[in-house]
Symmetry: C2
Subunit: 269 residues, 2 copies
């Protein structure tokens, strides 16, 4: 199925004219699209890391928004074998670390729990992130994916967000922890836990294609949230509940410390 037909079947059908109209105007301050004549915007190229036991919603929220940007989306895995996710649905990579096209507009890293722990010392994966992160227009993550960007050395000297329950581990990676739901620091755009992926992706959509286009996507996704409880952050949920959840992070803490030590050794400190 061609890309155009694929979008026509999805929510993109509701945006068809918007994609032409709003998409033609790059966001103010955004890098001009190289090449490509006329008013058609350069097609965005997005590389989304996939790895075993990642949190599927970390991926699918942003992927839905990127899809509505009519972006060329690559799901990048170690190989093309389907990877398991937290909810059981497997995700099949569309390309590999070695074969992923270059010149990414967005490099994106989703989170996971034991999944993130398992890859935090994966040299092939971290090498891919470090290499593509040097040249990507935006280097991004949600949830514990920020720890992977950090382990790849991509957050040194940057402010960054991550899932609240590991946020304070970001300084182990040389980053300044931000409590914002989405943190934009130069070309690093990082989000908080899981559902922050929606806020993150809409912010990034605005950076890439302008506020008007992002507003249309928000309308098509009916993103007018009304959470049933005031419990979505540790401050709102209360210390007792937050501490109970945070107590379960020992494996991530150990992996982040080990990554920090490895990075220190590489730097000769």
């Amino acid at each position: 199925m061609k890309r155009r037909e694929f979008h026509a079947l999805g929510l993109g059908a509701l945006l068809a004219s918007a994609a032409g109209a709003a998409g033609a105007a790059e966001a103010p301050g955004a890098a001009p699209a190289p090449g490509g004549g006329g008013s058609a915007p350069k097609k965005l190229r997005v590389g989304m890391l996939v790895y075993p036991d990642m949190v599927l919603l970390d991926l699918v929220g942003p992927q839905t928004v990127f899809s509505l940007l009519m972006a060329e989306i690559h799901l990048v895995g170690r190989d093309r074998q389907p990877v398991a996710t937290d909810v059981g649905l497997p995700v099949q990579p569309t390309t590999t670390f070695a074969e992923c096209p270059g010149s990414l507009d967005v490099l994106f890293v989703p989170g996971g729990l034991k999944g993130t722990v398992a890859v935090m010392d994966d040299r092939a994966l971290l090498g891919f992130l470090a290499e593509r992160g040097r040249e990507a227009r935006y280097v991004t993550s949600v949830c514990t994916g920020g720890l992977l960007l950090g382990a790849a050395g991509l957050l040194r000297g940057y402010r960054a967000s991550a899932h609240w329950y590991v946020r304070d581990l970001l300084p182990l990676m040389g980053a300044t922890a931000s409590a914002e739901r989405v943190t934009v620091d130069r070309n690093r755009v990082t989000g908080g836990g899981v559902t922050a992926g929606l806020d993150f992706a809409l912010r990034l959509a605005a950076l890439l294609r302008g506020d008007e286009y992002a507003r249309r996507i928000q309308l098509v996704l009916e993103y007018d949230p009304q959470p049933p409880f005031a419990a979505g952050s540790p401050e709102r949920a209360g210390a007792a509940l937050a501490d109970e959840v945070r107590a379960r992070r020992a494996p991530l803490l150990a992996a982040a410390r080990a990554a920090s030590e490895r990075a220190g050794k590489r730097l000769g400190t």
Copy 2:
């Protein structure tokens, strides 16, 4: 992989004690769990419809919440062939209309655009919904999935929500259209478009397992939304933008009218 191990890899690891503690207490007013002795709650059984060209986020948002309820989740398709979704990721059904286990606590229907149109006269699919909907503890949908519940005759005499851009078509199915993000009318629980699936699923989690458990899930998902724009509803986005999107609904309108006529003929009116 056993179910317990599967949850241990996912976000459920953060809820392990909550699942035992909060899960042991049924929500006030919830139907008592039949069978099963001691304090362990009955395991919830959830059937989630999957069909070609559905919106993946409609499924994955609620699925993530249901997964954190440690529910037994069945993805129910016409057959076991993977179905395409709006973002390209295929979803493989785990069971079929004929083989889906009975006694569902939740029957759930996601939305789609042309995907929903294509199945709105699918007798096997609507027959499955009608039959399981009669006996399910909760009959639920998000997005345009409400039109499918309606086409199956399950919303006659009920208030219901759907994606804003098809909400006014619900009366064609004998339902009263609700502008609420999540509408609970007896055992029908229906949500608005796409991202409303999160609010929907947390409301349903509270009905099934109590407010305290639902609050823990909301904290683990860091669901403390901060949309970047005030554009998530037609009222907020403005009439011009909403009308432009709504103009693209002709195929859904035609399918809903045809479904309404078929239902009228069945009723002999």
